[in-house]
Symmetry: C2
Subunit: 225 residues, 2 copies
């Protein structure tokens, strides 16, 4: 086991849960960070975060409010006037659910917290494959952000960014989660619902496809329709 | 005049006011961004921001709340339990007023907003000279952050970071401000006071030294002592 303290960015979704499971298999000392930024299913994601943290016995947790991301706007995920598209997975270009430069805000918070608590690595559950082409979910961005963190923090601070599911398709993420005993039943992915997943938004469609391809039943409830 | 829209990060202090004056001399289209992050003199800085924006007739303004920076902690500037030092300017190392990786949060917000409103350059009033050795106030960090912004935003988004007072001492900042007719009487620098500046904190000492060396009277009120 790695003695280095690791911060996991845990949204409460499938990818971040499996990323946390990977970090838990490698590191003795874990700290979990969750960010509320006015996303539509903020409360539901927060309760998933708390349950996943409890599952792994992580006591060093930080929940941050970033209402400013919603104020900046520019995304269907945070602006109620921009509808969340359904069945838009095949469309080209960057989707309207892209929150401009969002991961920079999450990583900046993680790097600041890493400086305060002495963590050396940040795990983020970003995925390039099967994902929506968000520019802030690419290895090139994470490497560039690592260099910015190196240049912009105390000389003794060294923080790496680990994105272990970045090159996995959703089915691989599900398989890896099952292998590691990740609590997939505690995760939440839907952009629309809070008690039952809608099964129709981009995020649900990707998730369902992943479970189907992995040959594993999705343990969360879906709206009948 | 440059047709490109410029975002200025305006805290309300001397450096950001002169930086805004420089941007105003170069760009027809300006947008001003202010961030409240739980700094001790938050309200005073915000009123300075509003007055400076009014002075330049800037209508595109955004005021963001970033309470999360205070929650992360680690700085005398945001944690009431860590005293703000007085007369610590000669001390070595990074001072306790350093807010871990703070400028990354401010720049992330500015880059997100630049993507939404179509700005191509962000002005930040950071200064290396006479400053306190904050690692996130160095050219190396701004160049690295520019590359992260390039990698983490839409392909069509291009955002530069301009820090025109970075290599100026405080006296040069004052002189440049006077040359450009910057409203220095509207600025606020003190870490302690809100109606009168304390004249004793690091920020006041630097400011007073700058005005003295420039041979210009500081137009703001100081506590008698």
């Amino acid at each position: 086991m790695d003695r280095e303290k690791a911060i996991c960015l845990v949204s409460g979704g499938l990818d971040s849960c499996v990323t946390a499971a990977i970090a838990a298999a490698r590191h003795e000392r874990l700290a979990f960070l969750h960010v509320n930024y006015g996303q539509r299913t903020e409360r539901r994601e927060l309760s998933a975060f708390r349950e996943i943290a409890a599952h792994y016995g992580v006591r060093e947790t930080l929940i941050l409010e970033m209402p400013h991301i919603r104020c900046i706007g520019g995304s269907a995920l945070t602006d109620p006037d921009i509808p969340v598209p359904e069945n838009a997975l095949g469309e080209e270009g960057i989707p309207v659910t892209y929150v401009p430069f969002r991961n920079a805000h999450l990583l900046a918070a993680a790097v600041s917290w890493a400086e305060v608590i002495g963590a050396g690595v940040i795990y983020i559950g970003a995925t390039e494959v099967d994902s929506s082409g968000y520019p802030d979910c690419r290895a090139e961005f994470f490497r560039a952000f690592e260099r910015a963190a190196e240049a912009g923090t105390r000389p003794e601070t060294r923080v790496r960014v680990a994105a272990p599911v970045l090159h996995m398709g959703k089915a691989d993420v599900v398989r890896r989660g099952v292998e590691l005993g990740a609590p997939l039943h505690l995760t939440w992915s839907c952009y629309q619902g809070e008690s039952e997943a809608c099964g129709a938004c981009d995020s649900c469609l990707l998730r369902l496809k992943g479970f189907r391809e992995a040959g594993v039943p999705d343990p969360i409830p879906y709206r009948e329709g």
